[in-house]
Symmetry: C2
Amino acid sequence: MAEFAKTEKTEITRLPKRGVYDKDVIYAILDEALVCTVAYVNDGQPFQIPTGFCRIGDKLYLHGSVGSFYMRQLAEKKIPVCISVTLIDGLVLARSAFHHSVNYRSVVLFSNPERVTDDAELYNVLEVFTNKMQPGRWDDVRQPNSGEWKATMVLSFKIEEVSAKVRTGGPKDDDEDYDLNIWAGVVPLKTTRLDPIPDPVLKQGIAIPEYLR
Amino acid sequence: MAEFAKTEKTEITRLPKRGVYDKDVIYAILDEALVCTVAYVNDGQPFQIPTGFCRIGDKLYLHGSVGSFYMRQLAEKKIPVCISVTLIDGLVLARSAFHHSVNYRSVVLFSNPERVTDDAELYNVLEVFTNKMQPGRWDDVRQPNSGEWKATMVLSFKIEEVSAKVRTGGPKDDDEDYDLNIWAGVVPLKTTRLDPIPDPVLKQGIAIPEYLR
């Protein structure tokens, strides 16, 4: 079991038993989440951008327009960022208001941006990005043309200083509360993909692809 | 239609047509989302905490342990924070890889923490917090005792410097791509509550409450 090393920034001090440094667990959370939030500092003020992302190996990738102010700031200044991802798995209803909780899996990563300039890496990132959104999609769509490549900026972030925090299971009440006549348990939450809605101007005769059924 | 005033920090410069300053829209996003991420700066370094929250009127509230390092930092230093919330409504599959997108509703708030010390406000926040997680829950559970009150810290953040960003609808492709033989449309995403799972040690004879059916 490979683990990330704890650092001053990633050591979980609040409820440390929920801290997870296992590489497979952290990678699985990153691969399941569709969006992350990127925090950075500008002029002493914290900013946050919610955005899509993907992971390949030990790197997390963001993409955006070359015209995006925050992407340009990150690419040029290579300033430290904090990136977080949160999946909510359930509501934990305890007998006491105090012990209500949430089952979740979150990751917090500290890293610095590197602009990706290698063509093969760029291509690979956009393929993984697209297929993360919908497996099988990349091979089915019109590939980026040269103008679109020029308009796209990709940033990579080494996944090294990172931790996860995970809560699972049922409520934990105070001993004396287990005898109360109060229902307790978990309401699981699940994000599902509903039936695809075709574009109203979809060309006639185009069937829904196999990978979307 | 009441709107928040744009500021240098909240004016949407990238895809400005997605920017929303309408109070009702922003409040509705905040009320639907279960978690937010709180970003703040410590020693020049950005940090992020994913956490539950609730809104009452023009304030956003976080709660946590008085032993939480970040809560204490925020309460004592009253440093500026950036809080974001993101709801993902669908995957937008365009004919071109480049125009793939996501339907989302996000809010970014800039504010400063104030520790809540008024008893009535504290009580109200915890009630709204609990009922946001599960409507009807607060009146059914054991209320906080004095030790639990002392262990809980609540921070309020004025909602004033805030913006939302919203994308809805189908894919927008380049004119010449509409004739391609590629399926395009939206895959809606929905977070649903599954059937409640009773605590394995639930006291015998306790039925599932009406509000959970």
